[in-house]
Point group: C2
C-alpha cells in the first residue's frame, strides 16, 4: 500500500489545487430535465441488460490473465466506441492463477462410510501432490481459535467453519477465507477447507481469494460447501478422528499483461475535475460473473453512454474505469492510482458498483461534513426508482481503496443484496439471477448520481485522512469480493 | 404390470375373505391414551432424527445394487432388532446402473465463447463414446413438440426444456425426463439433455430415472441445470447453431441380489389383517437421500418401534416394508406384491411415506365411499401437530402401485413439500435440509394413523378397481421419484 502514500510535501501542494465545496443548491429546471433523459432510457431501453447478456452469455468467466478477461477488455473497448464514448486501455500486470482437478473425499471409519466432499480451490491456493494430501480434520470457528491450537495443527487439515446466515455476516467471516489458510500454513497445517461464505446452498461451493504473504509457501486451500462443512462438524462432534483426502491441481502461472479499460465523457466547464465511476471487469473463473461484477460494469457503461448524449455535457468530466483484477490482486486499482497519482486531488467524487444487480435502495456518501446537505436536494428524481433516500455515511469499493489516502469523496448507490451471497463466486452467478427491472433501476440511479456529481455547482467536501494502514502482517485491507 | 393382475376367479374367491368395514365410531379413552404414548415420544425423544443421521451421515447414498444399499439393508435389520421389532429380508433382483465421468461443454461460435455445462447422467442413461458425442441442440418443451419435429431430430441433441416453478409442476413435467430420452432415441437423436426438475437452483443438476423400453438402445441422457437450460434457450433464441459436446461414462452392470426389509408388530385380535407402512430404502447415488427417502424410512420405523411398546398390541398387524429400488425400477414393490399376492386382500390399509421430511399438513385417504366418516373421529390427537384435517381423497406412493389391482385402501400423511424439489435427486439432499421439528411431527402423525388403522373397529371400505393399465408403449405407470 506504500505506493499510494504520496510524500507529504507533494500532498500539500496538490491539496492547494484541490477543488473546494460551495454552498448547497437545488437543481434547475433544465438540470431536472436531464434526469428524464437519463432515468427514462435506463428504465425503458434495456440497454444495460443487453450488454450484461453479452459479457456473461457471450464472453463468460473473466478471471485475470484468462482469455475471457482479454475478450472482455476488447468487448468493453468496442462497446464504448459503439456508444460514442472515448475509451482506451491502461496496462496492468496481473497474477494468473488457474484451477485444475479438484476433489476431496471423506475416508471411511467405523462410524461412517467414505464419500465425496464438494470442494472448490480458493484463488491463490497451492496444489497438492498428484495423489492428494490426506489428513485428520481439526475444526476452528475463528482465527483466534486457530492460534490457541498450537501443535495440534501440525500435519492436520484445518476446517474453518462459521455461522454465516445473512449478507451482513460476510464481513465478519471473510477473513477466514482470505487469511485463514496462510495462518494455518504457518502453524504447520497440510491443507485447509473453508466453509463457503454463503447465504444459501444446494451443495454449492464458493471460491474467492486467499492470500499467502511473502515467505509463506501456499498450502492447498479449498472452499467446502455448507453441507459438507456441517457434515464434518457433525462427524467431529460424534467423536473419533475424521480423515479427509484432498486433491487440488491448481497452478500459479507467470504474471500476464492485462488492462484497465478507461473511458471519458469530458466536462464542459471543469474538465479537469473528475467523477470516477468504477466497476471490475474481471470475475472468478466459475459462473459468468453476472452479479459480480458484470452488473456493475454495464451500469457504469450505460451511465457513460447516456451522459455522452447530453448536450450540453455535464460541468465536470465523468470517467469510467473498468478495473482488472479486483478479485485476486487489486492490481488494476493499484495501477490506476499510481498512473493517475497526480490527478487524484482533482478526483472530486468516485463510486464503485460492485454489489450485484439488485434494485437500488438509496444513495450513500463517504465525504466530509456537509456532504449530505449538498446532495439531498438532488435526490428527488430517484424517488420513482426507490432510491431517493440518503442512506449510510459510508461508500466505497475494493478498487477505490487506493484512493483513500488522497481523500477522494466516495458516493454509492446502495442495492438490495438479499440474494447476492447465494451466488457470489459460484457457478450459479449467471445472467438468469439478475432481474432486468432491478438492473434498470440501479442503472438509472447510477446515471443520475453521476450527473449530480458532475453537474452540481460545488464538489463534495473531502473526507478526513484515513487511519494509518494496518500492521504489515495483515496485508492490504481489502473488502475482497464485493 | 401383468404380474399383478390375478386371475379373476382367484380374485373373486379371495375377495370373499376380504375384511368388510363397520360403522363409524370414536376412539375410547384407553385408545386416546395410546395417542399420548405415540405422539409424546415421537415429538420429544428425537429417535427418528438419530436414525436419519445414521442412514444419511453414517451410510450415505444407497442406489440399488450399491454397497450403500446393502449397508442400509443390514442397518435396517439391526435397527429393528434394537427396537424390539421382528424383521426379515425378502429377496429382490435389482438393476445396477453406475455413474461414470460426466461433463459437457458448449462449443464456441461467433456469438459466444465455449464453456462447461453442468450435467448429471439420468439413471438408465446410455454412455457416450470415450471421446464424447457432439451435436447441434434442438429444443422442445413437450413430448408432443418432439413428435412434430420429425427428421429434424436426427443426429441432434434434444434439449427438453420446461417451466417448472413449484412442487405441483413436477407431475406435469416428469415425463420429459422419464420418457423423453427414449422417444428422442426412436426419432434418431444422438443424446438428450433434460432441464432439471427443480424449484430452486444454484446451478444444481437433478438426476432421476429415465426408461428405455425393450428394443430401444439407451442413448446418453443427462439432466442439465436450470441455469444451463436457460443459457441454451437464450443462445438458441439468438439464432444460429448451438453445438454441445457431452461425455457420459455411465454403465449398466449385471443385475444384483438385494432385499426389501420387512418388519411386523403382530395384531392382538386380527393378526391376519395387515396395515402396511412403506418407505423406500434405496436413494439416488448423489446426496445421501435424506428427504428422499431417508425421512420416510425413519418415520415408519419409528412408528413400528413405538407401536411395538404398546400393551396390549393394536387389534391388527402393522407391517413395515422398506422397499428396495423405488428409484430406478420399482423391483422391490413388484417383488413384494408377487410374494404376498395371496395376502393382498387382507391388506386393509397401506401408506407410503415418500415426500420428504416436511411438517405434516393433514391426513389423506384413497378408499371407498364412507372412509372419511370412519377416520374423522380419530383425528383429534393430530390437531396439536398441525395434521388434524382430512385432506385430499387421494393417497399412494410409487411402491404401492402394484397394490392397486387388489384394491388396497391407501392412507397418507400429507406434508409440506415447499422445498422438497429444491433438493430432490441432488447432491444437496442431505441431513441438514431436514428440520428436526417437522420430522418429529410427521413421525407422530404416521405413528398415530398407523395405530388408527390397526385399532379402529372396522376397516376402510376398499376403493373401486383401478382403470385398465395404460397402453404398453407407455410402460408402467410410476409417479417416479416421489
Ligand atoms: Zn466483485
Ligand atoms: Zn422417493
Amino acid at each position: 500500500m506504500s505506493t499510494f502514500l504520496l510524500p507529504s510535501t507533494l500532498m500539500a501542494s496538490l491539496l492547494a489545487a484541490t477543488p473546494q465545496p460551495s454552498p448547497a443548491s437545488a437543481p434547475t429546471a433544465a438540470q431536472l430535465q436531464v434526469a428524464e433523459r437519463l432515468v427514462g432510457p435506463a428504465l425503458s431501453e434495456g440497454h444495460a441488460w443487453t450488454r450484461l447478456a453479452e459479457i456473461t452469455d457471450g464472453i463468460g468467466p473473466r478471471l485475470s490473465g484468462s482469455e475471457g478477461a482479454e475478450a472482455a477488455v476488447q468487448w468493453a473497448l468496442r462497446s464504448f466506441k459503439a456508444d460514442g464514448v472515448k475509451a482506451w486501455t491502461e496496462p496492468v500486470k496481473v497474477p494468473r492463477w488457474v484451477r485444475g482437478e479438484e476433489r476431496a473425499e471423506l475416508l471411511s471409519s467405523e462410524r461412517f462410510r467414505g464419500r465425496p466432499l464438494t470442494v472448490m480451490a480458493l484463488g491463490g491456493s497451492g496444489a497438492t501432490p498428484v495423489e492428494g494430501v490426506t489428513g485428520e480434520v481439526v475444526e476452528v470457528f475463528s482465527l483466534e481459535e486457530l492460534a490457541t491450537l498450537g501443535e495440534r495443527v501440525k500435519g492436520r487439515i484445518v476446517l474453518f467453519n462459521h455461522t454465516m446466515e445473512k449478507p451482513e455476516d460476510y464481513g465478519r467471516f471473510a477473513s477466514l477465507r482470505s487469511r485463514g489458510p496462510a495462518l494455518a500454513a504457518k502453524a504447520g497445517a497440510v491443507a485447509t477447507l473453508v466453509r463457503s461464505l454463503a447465504t444459501a446452498s444446494l451443495n454449492t461451493p464458493h471460491t474467492g481469494a486467499t492470500r499467502f504473504e511473502d515467505g509463506i509457501a501456499p498450502i492447498p486451500a479449498a472452499s467446502v460447501t455448507v453441507e459438507d462443512a456441517e457434515l464434518l462438524h457433525r462427524l467431529l462432534a460424534g467423536g473419533g478422528p475424521v480423515r479427509v483426502k484432498l486433491v487440488l491441481g491448481c497452478k500459479e502461472l507467470p504474471e500476464a499483461d492485462s488492462f484497465n479499460v478507461v473511458a471519458e465523457v469530458k466536462g464542459r466547464e471543469k474538465p479537469e475535475e473528475i467523477i470516477l465511476l468504477g466497476a471490475h471487469l474481471d470475475s472468478w473463473d466459475v459462473g459468468t460473473g453476472a452479479h459480480d461484477d458484470g452488473a456493475g460494469v454495464v451500469m457504469v457503461m450505460e451511465a457513460a453512454r447516456l451522459l455522452a448524449k447530453q448536450k450540453p455535457a455535464p460541468r465536470r468530466t465523468v470517467r469510467v474505469v473498468l478495473f482488472m483484477n479486483e478479485e485476486n490482486g487489486l492490481r488494476g486499482a493499484k495501477a490506476y492510482a499510481e498512473a493517475h497519482a497526480a490527478e487524484l486531488p482533482r478526483h472530486v467524487a468516485a463510486l464503485e458498483m460492485d454489489a450485484g444487480g439488485g434494485k437500488p435502495l438509496g444513495v450513500s456518501l463517504r465525504a466530509g461534513e456537509g456532504a449530505a446537505e449538498l446532495v439531498r436536494p438532488w435526490l428527488s428524481p430517484l424517488v420513482g426508482v426507490g432510491s431517493g433516500n440518503l442512506l449510510a455515511q459510508e461508500a466505497g469499493g475494493a478498487d477505490l481503496t487506493p484512493l483513500l489516502p488522497a481523500r477522494v469523496p466516495f458516493f454509492g448507490v446502495r442495492q438490495d443484496g438479499t440474494h447476492y451471497f447465494d451466488v457470489h463466486h459460484t457457478h450459479a452467478d449467471t445472467l438468469d439471477k439478475v432481474e432486468p427491472e432491478a438492473l434498470a433501476k440501479s442503472t438509472a440511479a447510477v446515471a443520475w448520481m453521476a450527473y449530480v456529481m458532475a453537474e452540481m455547482p460545488g464538489v463534495l467536501p473531502r473526507p478526513p485522512a484515513p487511519p494509518a494502514p494496518a500492521a504489515p502482517a495483515a496485508g492490504p485491507v481489502k473488502s475482497s469480493g464485493h
